[in-house]
Symmetry: C2
Subunit: 220 residues, 2 copies
Amino acid sequence: VNDYRDPSGRTLADYARPSLAVDVALLTLHPSHGLAVLLHRAEEGFGSGQWSLPGTFVRLEETLREAALRALEVKADVRGRTPQQLKVFDALDRDVRGRVVSVAHVDVVPEGVLAEEVLAPIRGERAVGHDGQKHLPFDHDLIVVEAVRWIRNAYTEAPDPYGLLGQTFSMYELRKVHERVLGEELQKDTFRRKMLDQLSDAREVSTGRVGKPARLFTRR
Amino acid sequence: VNDYRDPSGRTLADYARPSLAVDVALLTLHPSHGLAVLLHRAEEGFGSGQWSLPGTFVRLEETLREAALRALEVKADVRGRTPQQLKVFDALDRDVRGRVVSVAHVDVVPEGVLAEEVLAPIRGERAVGHDGQKHLPFDHDLIVVEAVRWIRNAYTEAPDPYGLLGQTFSMYELRKVHERVLGEELQKDTFRRKMLDQLSDAREVSTGRVGKPARLFTRR
DNA sequence: ACAATAGTGTCTATCAGACAATATCCT
DNA sequence: AGGATATTGTCTGATAGACACTATTGT
């Protein structure tokens, strides 16, 4: 593949070095709560039965993003995402199998795409498993904390920056999504005015429900 | 060192994987300009004669931060820093020697610590070498762009967050440092009022120069 | 006195937070 | 009509930007 040799005649592969992995915190909204993170259950081999973030080792011929996408596809059957780098986790003892450095990634999927069984609701900043599993293995609890901060930071200024909602939505729907992401209630008029100049008018009106029909909006 | 074996009897080291490196963008102020970044000249072997960011491969038994510190010490004789993760650079072809993923780090040193010969001034967002070298090798130009954004972002809100100045300083000195970091002039009264409540009074007064003596301040 | 630098007063425009009024629908 | 929701008016307090004024030193 590559015939480079250093002055001592060795290739890069001749030197001992850490393994490189990716882990993905895929966030979404839980049907009956606020934020939730996708977990997958190791089926065989190392760590079997335990719930953890989907992850995989990075292969020679793929980028980090491709590895993250592969982990999502193989371990959670999720496709078509655009994961982003979050932070590198490199504690010497983070993996008992050996020295593994992991690049944590994060992404967001709309509500309802993932099955409820694989979602762990976020309480505070941490994920809470359903099987009574209090903590995630490796440093995945830390990754989830960073991912939650990341999305909450993004949802304080911009309207639904990662597309939890569909193409068009009412101001009410937008606010409710933001409240569930942030885990706190928002003032409706202040919220409206902050978001209004970041949205385009969809020239449509919601109908069917009781009350004055709501204007619908689109992301810019 | 580690006797883990997977179901097929192999250890982690039996799998092909990328090499892992760190590169460090060490920022400071240039004596006759604004921001500058530390470069080092490769002496022998690969890329000799070219100026680039100090970097090194990560060893099995060290963290990323330790590798970054080692690169600074070996390649630039700089000690005692606390480099921070900036971003991971993982383009498949970023290094002609083979597949190398690099975790870019960034840190800041006070003015006057580094020799002027190893400093490349920043113009706009890019580093400008002195030997007529227009571009840095690998993706180091991109790393510098990210590092410059990082420090400019930090210096827009907080007073000298990375200690370019000493323990105490006048408001004038603080403002001049911020102007050199940001590459733009700042309004003195607005700047003063924004920074004042983030500083402590050093209960000292500057003396010697002409004009009203200035109060001195300390970081919180 | 005068130049030079430090520090403050004040006006304006903008914006978030809060409360309340008005507008327009469904039943 | 009456309930429900959407949308806007308006007051208040905080703050950034801008300009100009006052304060205190060295020469």
